[in-house]
Structures are given as structure tokens and as C-alpha cells.
């Protein structure tokens, strides 16, 4: 590009170094790839949300009057598949993690920039397969693809959807691999492991799960597709095959996968709590290691999904106990966050509202999880709305709250602009209220015995269902608002400055938006993470 004399020199950053579609589609800059991911996952969040809306409209009345049973099955399958594989799993890692990890560790980029871009294309290829399946009528197996229904009986687009999940899984593996190598090999001088932000620790744990777990679900899904495609009977009891083997392979990944969804969110919360209480996270090392503990223990509990699937009573007992063990590192995090708040100088900025909302909702999700891990209780509430409420408290109440909190926290860094504080607080409030109204009644419904995955229900359940549908409307509105004011801010928002929150961390030391190579001077780290004490002293001096 040639410099013209007439225009004043503009600071170059990653957004304005280059324009044009090609400079985006072929970029190797982790920050631009994060934006590409942001666009893709937002798109699928909206589609998945529309499916959820249809589900809730159907469930507003006891009769199945909006859609037929079969259509309903296809709806909740699409909702689950899109939300889990195309939105929530990539959400924080591929967007915020991608953008921030190199910044937080003082690197110029991830270790493998081409692999990073490749992962986005692989993601979209998988997404394309799933969309093709949807356009051809969708899949009716549920996002869990349970055999033998999926392999032998289902008369819908199982193969396309399954292959889509298979392919998207590889993008997830690529991201995880890239993070692991980056965190090991690309840290700035002086940035020891125990000086890393907890966000990075959380992503390290997440990446371990992605790398260890995803290949297993990949092979399980591949086997289902092969069974249908080639008419062979891997899970077919007539050949001595075992349909429950699929459940084992599936949950060996998919239970850890719920931690792929929640761990990054916990990483975000650690950053937010520290920044808005102006304190170092209480018990830093415990929080750091709890991420690893969750990653490891998460692989030992998959059997709690099989309590009523012909698993032996002894296996059930062991899985029950192990599952309760996972609650320990999760609780460690919650206690340490609360201890950090104690005597902190707390400011009620929008990201902090999300962080506090996260803690409350995650605690409810986690406690009900422990209830479900209790063999006796699970016999009663398995496959009821209690389960649906439980995992939405974690995945929507926890993970999405963390994602939105993080997005609001780092938005000024990503775009260089500030959004409307007023509207963002309104949205956070709506989301919190709407969420609880949507999903708390589902705990009661489930406990009263309303099974999940039916399009009709007995009349006595209607009041709670109407409450839930009303809550979903508020929740939907709450999700719509950020879409509007964040977009708006990109053009009309005030310039944010490099460190609008006065937060501590390498990412706040570079300019907003950051230059393509992240730092003008290669950073050298000499302090602990969250060293707010010295920051305050420096200000006073």
C-alpha cells in the first residue's frame, strides 16, 4: 500500500491492515480467525434458537397442535446438534480463546496459524453437511444418536448429520492441539506456568479433553454411519453386537465434552472476578489445578448416563461415586471466586453481572448434577425434564453466561469500541430473569414425571410449561439485544482506549484493536497474574 501525503497517518491494527474478502478468508491471523468463528457460531446460534422457539411454542399447550410428533423429534434433534456441536463447543475456545491466548501469553500468533485457519474451514464443511441434512428433512435420533434406533430403524438423515458431527469434531481437535502446543512453546520470556492467567489454564484443560475425547466420539459416529451405509451390523444384537457399546463410546466423549463447554467459561469467570474485584484470585494454584482435575476426572464418569441402560449395579455404584468426585474441583472454583469477592472493591460493570449470574446458575446446575449422579434419584428422574433443566442450567446458564460476559469484557479490545452500558445491563438482566423463568419450572416438571422428547403432555403440566415458554420469550429478547447494540457499537460506539476496565494482563497492555503481530515491543513478564496490588501502588505513587 502506498502512503498518500494528504491523509494523516492512521494507526495500523489487525482490522485495517487489509480490506477485502480475500484478506479475511485467507488470513492466518488468530484474531481475524476468531472473528470468522464468531460470525459462524452466531449464525448457528440463531438457527438453533429458532428451533428452540418452535419447541417452546409447541409445548405451550398440552396437545400436539403445532407440529407432528415426528417433526418435533427432528426439531429437538436439530436444536441439540446445532447448539452443541456448532455453537457451544467452539464458542469460547474458538472465538475468545483464539483471540486472547496469544495476547495473554505475549505471542505473535498461535503455534500453527494455517492449522487454525484450516480448522475454521473444516468446521464449515461439517456445518454444511448438517445443514444439508436439515434441508433434506432433518434427523430424528436426538443429538445422542443412540443405537440401535439410529443404526437400524431411524428413517431420516442420520448419515449426513453424523458425518457432519464427525467432521466438526476434527476442527475441535485442531483447535485443542494448537492451544496445547501454543501454551507449551510460545509463552513470553518470564511467563512461567504459575504466572499464566487462569483463562489460559482453563483452555489448557479444555484442549486436553478435546484432544483425548473427540477422536473416540468420532470413531463411534463413524461406526454408526458405516453400519447404515454398508449395511453391516456393528451394534446389531443379531450379530452379537451390543447397542450399549455405542452409549459407552458416545458418553466417553460426550460427558467430558460438557466440560469442553463449561471449562472455558470458568476461565472467563476467573478473569472477570479478578478484574472487577481488583484482587488476585484467591488460591490461584487451586483454581489452576482444578481445571486439570476436572479434565482428568471428567473422563471417569461417563457411566452416569447409563444407570438405566443395562449397566451392572456395581458399575453404577462406582460411576455414581466418581461423578460426585467431579463436583469437588468444580466447588473449589466456586468457593475461591466467592473468597476473591470478599473485601474486593467490586464494580458492577456489565461483564461482572454476567460473572455473578454465572456463579448462581452454575451452582444450581452443579448441585442438581450431583443429585442426578445419585443412583436412586436418577432412576426416578432419568429422561425427564429434570435432566433437561439440569444441563441447560450448566450449558445455557453457565457456559453462555460466561461467553457473553467474556464477549462484553473483551469487546473493546476486539473492536476498539465501547457498547451502550445501559442496554448491555438491561440485556444481562433480561437474560438472567428469562433464563430462570424458562428452566426452573422444568425442574419441577421433571420431578413430577414429565418425560423429555415428547411433543404432547397431560394437562396438569400446562401451567409450568406456559411459564417456561414465557421465560423463553424473555430470554430470546435478552439474546437479541446484544446482537443489536454490539453491531451498533462497531460503528457508533465510543473509542474504548487500550484498557477501559483498568484490568491486569498482557492483553490490556497492547493497543485496542491490537496490531497484527499483537505487540509493538515483545513483552517480558516479571509479575504474577492479577497483580492488582502493585497496579494500585503504581497509581498512588
Amino acid at each position: 500500500m502506498s502512503d498518500t501525503v494528504t491523509t494523516p497517518p492512521r494507526r495500523k491494527h489487525y482490522l485495517n491492515v487489509d480490506y477485502g474478502i480475500k484478506s479475511w478468508l485467507l488470513t492466518q491471523d488468530h484474531k481475524r480467525i476468531a472473528i470468522l468463528y464468531l460470525i459462524s457460531i452466531t449464525f448457528f446460534f440463531i438457527i438453533g434458537g429458532v428451533m428452540a422457539a418452535l419447541i417452546r411454542v409447541e409445548l405451550a399447550t398440552p396437545l400436539g397442535d403445532l407440529v407432528e410428533a415426528d417433526t418435533y423429534n427432528r426439531l429437538f434433534t436439530a436444536h441439540g446438534v446445532l447448539m452443541v456441536f456448532l455453537f457451544l463447543i467452539p464458542s469460547i475456545p474458538a472465538v475468545l480463546g483464539n483471540f486472547l491466548i496469544p495476547l495473554m501469553i505475549g505471542a505473535k500468533d498461535l503455534a500453527f496459524p494455517k492449522l487454525n485457519l484450516g480448522s475454521w474451514y473444516v468446521y464449515n464443511l461439517g456445518a454444511l453437511l448438517m445443514v444439508a441434512a436439515l434441508l433434506r428433512g432433518g434427523t430424528d435420533t436426538g443429538w445422542t444418536f443412540y443405537t440401535p434406533y439410529s443404526s437400524t430403524f431411524a428413517d431420516s438423515e442420520v448419515i449426513l448429520t453424523a458425518l457432519g458431527a464427525f467432521v466438526v469434531g476434527f476442527s475441535s481437535i485442531m483447535t485443542g492441539l494448537n492451544f496445547i502446543v501454543t501454551i507449551h512453546r510460545m509463552r513470553a520470556p518470564g511467563l512461567t506456568w504459575f504466572r499464566l492467567p487462569l483463562f489460559v489454564w482453563a483452555h489448557y484443560g479444555t484442549s486436553l479433553i478435546q484432544v483425548l475425547g473427540t477422536p473416540v466420539v468420532a470413531i463411534a459416529i463413524l461406526l454408526v454411519a458405516a453400519e447404515r451405509l454398508l449395511h453391516i451390523g456393528i451394534f446389531d444384537p443379531a450379530l452379537g453386537g451390543d447397542p450399549v457399546l455405542f452409549q459407552h463410546l458416545f458418553w466417553f466423549y460426550s460427558h467430558p465434552a460438557v466440560y469442553i463447554m463449561i471449562l472455558p467459561s470458568m476461565g472467563v469467570i476467573s478473569e472477570l472476578i479478578a478484574a472487577f474485584s481488583r484482587k488476585r484470585i484467591f488460591g490461584y494454584k487451586f483454581v489452576a489445578f482444578s481445571s486439570l482435575a476436572i479434565a482428568v476426572l471428567g473422563f471417569l464418569v461417563w457411566g452416569h448416563h447409563l444407570f438405566v441402560s443395562s449397566q451392572s449395579i456395581y458399575a453404577g455404584l462406582i460411576f455414581s461415586v466418581l461423578s460426585m468426585l467431579v463436583a469437588v474441583p468444580s466447588a473449589v472454583k466456586v468457593f475461591n471466586w466467592t473468597a476473591t469477592l470478599y473485601q474486593g472493591s467490586i464494580s458492577w460493570q456489565t461483564p461482572m453481572i454476567y460473572a455473578l449470574g454465572f456463579i448462581g446458575l452454575f451452582v444450581i446446575g452443579g448441585l442438581t448434577g450431583t443429585m442426578l449422579a445419585t443412583l436412586g434419584i436418577d432412576m426416578h428422574v432419568h429422561d425427564t425434564y429434570f435432566v433437561v433443566a439440569h444441563f441447560h442450567y450448566i450449558m445455557v446458564g453457565g457456559a453462555i453466561m460466561g461467553y457473553l460476559g467474556g464477549l462484553h469484557f473483551w469487546w473493546p479490545k476486539i473492536t476498539g469500541r465501547m457498547y451502550s452500558v445501559f442496554w448491555s445491563k438491561i440485556a444481562a438482566g433480561l437474560i438472567f430473569v428469562g433464563f430462570n423463568l424458562t428452566f426452573f419450572p422444568q425442574f419441577l416438571l421433571g420431578y413430577m414425571g414429565m418425560p423429555r422428547r415428547y411433543h404432547a403432555y397431560p394437562e396438569e403440566f400446562q401451567i409450568l410449561n406456559v411459564l417456561s415458554s414465557a421465560g423463553a420469550t424473555i430470554l430470546g429478547l435478552g439474546y437479541l439485544l446484544p446482537l443489536i447494540y454490539l453491531f451498533w457499537s462497531m460503528r457508533y460506539g465510543e473509542r474504548a482506549g487500550d484498557n477501559p476496565w483498568g484490568a491486569y494482563g498482557l492483553e490490556w497492555e497492547t493497543s485496542s484493536p491490537p496490531p497484527t503481530l499483537n505487540f509493538d515491543e515483545p513483552p517480558v513478564v516479571t509479575t504474577e497474574a492479577y497483580d492488582y496490588l502493585s497496579l494500585r501502588e503504581k497509581k498512588l505513587a
Binding site: 505471542a107 505473535k108 500468533d109 498461535l110 503455534a111 500453527f112 496459524p113 481437535i173 492441539l177 494448537n178 496445547i180 502446543v181 501454543t182 507449551h184 512453546r185 510460545m186 484432544v211 483425548l212 475425547g213 473427540t214 477422536p215 473416540v216 468420532a218 470413531i219 463411534a220 461406526l223 458405516a226 454398508l230 449395511h231 453391516i232 451390523g233 456393528i234 443379531a238 450379530l239 452379537g240 453386537g241 451390543d242 457399546l245 459407552h248 463410546l249 497484527t516 503481530l517
Partner: protein, 220 residues
């Protein structure tokens, strides 16, 4: 951005030194191999579960495999690992032509392995031992034998697919080596594909006894 003046040729823009670049690339390869272990691990689990339930049928199945061809293939593959290791050594010592020669030898042996596999597969096809509608087996253990062949084809098929991919990458690496892209301090690609090739080899070292040998001592 790529060709910043301060950066040596072959050093990517985001790395500070060749050491860092090399360590990143090795670690990346190892992590990738871990994912591969988990990937095959799912199939091995299925094998263990099904074999524990129907050992007799699996023993019958293993008698149908061609142990001579299987043994030859094992030797061929181990030989290819040797030539691969020699290629890496040539890269470490900066002998361009030797890299190309050893990689070509590796490709040749890999191709031989796949060729023998094709012969084995087509014999199974002729004997109606390929699972699916055309599978045919007389006797009470028919379902278990079909399951054995399900696993046989899936496991060796997945393994063969990895060989094909490996050969493709080796071809590219051979061309790059011919053009002189590697030096003693910068030949990560050769090391990487070497690790991959050895891994694929090791998978076969497990597949061969599990499928061909176990249960062969039992008279059926």
C-alpha cells in the same frame, strides 16, 4: 509479513528461533498421535468387548485370514519403518539425495503392503467373507464370524487409509527434499512424517496378532 527482514529463511514469522519452531512442530506431532491412539482405541475397545463375548467365533474367523501374506506384510512394514528412519537420519545429516532415496524406498514398501492387502481383500470378497448382504457362512457361529469380519475390515481398512494418506504426504516431502527445502537445522516435516509413519506401523504390530494370531492355536 511473511518475509520480515530479521527472519531467517524457513523460520515462520511468529517464531523467534528455529529451536522454538522445531519444538512446537514435534510437540504438535506427538499430540496428534495421541488423538490417533484414541481414534483407533475406540475400535480396539469394540474388538475387546466383542471378542470377550464370542471368542470361539473370533477364533474361527482368524483361521480364515491368510497368515502367510499377513506375516510377509508385517515384515514389509517393519522394513519401511527402517527406511523411514534412515530418511530422517539423512535429513539430520543434510544428505539431500539420500533423503529422497530412502523416502522413495519407504513409499515403495508401503505400496507393496497395500498391494498385498488388496490381494487379501479380494480373496475375502470371493469367499463371501465381506460383511453385509453378500456375507455367507455356514454354521452356528455365523453371526460372530460376521462380526469378526466387520472388525477385521474396519480396523485394517482404517489402517490402510492411514497408509494411503502417509504415502501421499511422503510424495510431497520427497519433492520438497529434492528441491533442497530441508537442512540439518530445519527439517521438521521429515521428522514429523517419520513419527507418523512409525505410528501407523505400530498400529499394525497390534492388529496382526489380534486378528491373525489369537485363537489360531485352537482347533476348529
Amino acid at each position: 509479513m511473511q518475509g520480515e527482514s530479521s527472519h531467517a529463511f524457513g523460520l515462520a514469522h511468529h517464531f523467534d528461533s528455529f529451536d522454538q519452531q522445531r519444538e512446537a512442530s514435534y510437540l504438535g506431532m506427538w499430540v496428534f498421535l495421541v488423538t490417533e491412539i484414541m481414534f483407533f482405541g475406540g475400535l480396539f475397545t469394540a474388538y475387546v468387548v466383542y471378542r470377550s463375548g464370542q471368542g470361539a467365533a473370533f477364533a474361527i474367523g482368524s483361521h480364515e485370514l491368510d497368515i502367510v501374506l499377513g506375516s510377509i506384510n508385517t515384515a514389509v512394514l517393519i522394513g519401511s519403518s527402517l527406511t523411514m528412519a534412515l530418511a530422517v537420519w539423512a535429513a539430520q545429516t543434510g544428505r539431500r539425495k539420500a533423503i529422497v532415496a530412502f523416502i522413495l524406498a519407504t513409499i515403495l514398501l508401503g505400496g507393496l503392503f497395500l498391494g498385498i492387502k488388496v490381494v487379501e481383500y479380494s480373496a475375502k470378497f470371493e469367499h463371501h467373507l465381506v460383511p453385509g448382504p453378500n456375507f455367507h457362512w455356514q454354521g452356528p457361529e455365523a453371526p460372530g464370524v460376521e462380526m469378526f469380519f466387520n472388525l477385521y475390515f474396519l480396523m485394517t481398512g482404517l489402517h490402510a487409509a492411514h497408509m494411503v494418506i502417509g504415502i501421499g504426504i511422503l510424495l510431497v516431502v520427497a519433492i520438497l527434499a529434492w528441491r533442497g527445502s530441508f537442512s540439518p537445522e530445519n527439517h521438521n516435516l521429515v521428522e514429523g512424517i517419520g513419527l507418523y509413519w512409525h505410528f501407523v506401523d505400530i498400529v499394525w504390530i497390534f492388529l496382526f496378532p489380534l486378528l491373525y494370531l489369537l485363537g489360531r492355536n485352537i482347533q476348529v
